[in-house]
């Protein structure tokens, strides 16, 4: 447990440099620069967004072509049955709609949410992690985890109230 964003960030740097892999920080708000301190790479959410956007645009164009040109052509005001020009506004909106869903879906997928139970929630002070305290969690499955060394590392990094939790 740490009390300031600065403290948790330095500690994160030390945990990263000690070579831990399966660990995490719990913070009430996103701390600027902690990704780097933790060695977290750039988020992969944009790939989902791009896929969603392309699908949305293609859906819009092909839907309108199918309906107005192929399935039931209807002359209205002597205009062409299909033109990408008038199909554009609808395809544009569908691009945005699909991108939004893909982005949010991708975020949930990458984060593994919803996950209503997590061992970290067994820690009695964890509820303050959405209020004003900062935590570092190292999972037992981390190959480098060694109860004494890890505790010493976290203590040296300025952590207080270091606790072992049952998964």
């Amino acid at each position: 447990m740490f009390e300031t964003p600065g403290a948790v960030m330095h500690a994160a740097e030390q945990v990263r440099d000690a070579g831990y892999r399966r660990w995490d920080c719990i913070t009430p708000f996103p701390i600027h620069g902690i990704d780097k301190a933790m060695g977290v790479t750039r988020s992969r959410v944009p790939r989902f967004s791009l896929a969603g956007g392309v699908t949305g645009f293609a859906t819009g164009m092909s839907m309108i072509w199918f309906m107005d040109q192929y399935d039931y052509p209807l002359t209205v005001g002597g205009k062409p049955f299909f033109s990408p020009l008038f199909a554009f506004p609808v395809s544009y909106e569908l691009t945005i709609l699909f991108t939004a869903f893909a982005t949010i879906g991708g975020m949930f997928l990458l984060n593994g949410l919803p996950m209503h139970y997590h061992p970290v929630l067994n820690y009695d002070k964890i509820r303050r992690g959405t209020d004003d305290q900062f935590f570092i969690v190292i999972e037992r499955s981390d190959p480098r985890l060694n109860p004494e060394n890890t505790r010493a590392l976290l203590e040296k990094a300025g952590g207080r109230d270091i606790t072992e939790l049952e998964a």
């Binding site: 996103p30 945005i96 959405t130």
Partner: protein, 491 residues
Amino acid sequence: MSQATELPEASAAVLAEVNPAVKPRAELVAHGRSFSWITEKICGIAEEKTPVWWWWCFLSACFVASFTVAGITYLVSTGIGVWGHRNPVNWGWAIVNFVFWIGIGHAGTLISAILCLLRQKWRTSINRSAEAMTIFAVVCAGIFPVFHVGRVWYAWFLFPLPNSNYIWQNYRSPLEWDVFAVSTYGTVSVLFWYVGMIPDLATMRDRFASVGKTIRARLYGLFAMGWRGSSRHWSNYEMAYLILAGISTPLVLSVHTIVSFDFAVSLIPGWHTTIFPPYFVAGAIFSGFGMVLTLILPLRAIYRLEDLVTQYHIDCMCKIILATGTMVGYAYAMEFFIAWYGANPNEGFAFINRAFGPYWWAYFIMVTCNVVTPQFFWFKSVRSNTALVFILSLFVNVGMWFERFVIIVTSLARDFLPSSWGYYTPSIVEIFTFFGTFGVFSVLFLLFIRFLPIMAIAELKAVTPQADPHAHGGGGHGAGPHADTKTREHY
């Protein structure tokens, strides 16, 4: 290239010589409030016992909303004729109200999306309630076109669903574009609002859980999706939020553009102009900020939120109203200029008629409210007088309603054939239905205040000075716990 490399040195020398005064950035959270103070303040609003004023407001809002319910029930059971629409004005208040409410919504998206991209950190105090306003405004807006179709039980024909006639929608019509624009806008606004709220719902879940209110904790927890504030999650979350902001920006601009296409793509003089899309968007943002102020200022007073919505926030909003109001004024002038310069007699007549014809009074109200009112915001003394800002924001709302009225009704009432000219007055059913939407809006907004975090708690914490991990001089990388003791002492 050489210029670019020389510039920093040169400017450093100049800076040393002129020695400019350091102008500190305005504090976004006043009085150095701590993280837990922010949590306590915002969550406390939803956690406290329901205040008496809330019940009074809620019951009056329900009463007002019943006018919409009554108006619509009467309309559906009798027929569209109970509205005052008849030749030549078939787009009366229904479309005026639709455009009005959709426009109101735009400030919410502007605040959450465009200001996010522009890194305007002052948005954090107002974005949550502004987004809520957007969604509720879209709900109110949606009522009108859906019932304006006449037989509302066929409203699903608007969407590309297979039906027994085997006929599809006409995608050559801007009205169909509008269906997609508005429904996408509503959906994406809800998603954006919800995603922004997940960490705050988790905060509320944890607070309820720690005082033993299990049922409420479970309920908030359900919607918080098990959020636990993991930094790895925050990384994906922030990226997703940024992308949502990035796509909502073209979305909000496109929605009112497409709404304006409903008019601009037609051949009616006064509607058939290319200035409509930017003019509508500016007007929408103008009216939306008016509504944001109308809502935020009472909230700020009731819940003593002065440390979170500071004078700086109000100043910023007033300045945006001033800028967009002036743009709208420019558009009014430019429309007249083009009508004259274009030398089309029908177009010229439409504009002379707009300002001096039978609806001169509406035009007068529109110009007074939209062009004259915002000019008061040039003065700091006006911007810092909260009561006056509130009153002026009401004028903005009124003015923008009249703008849509003027555009829609004046052009239709003077058709191409003088024999079909008419004068439109709304029926009492229309008036009731519109009046009631303010109740619908208020009911939704009051429920929002009561049950959800009205400000983005996590984002507010992130803009406080103590949230910066490098805060206070040497407290940066590698400085160790020592720097943090200093930081703690300082704050």
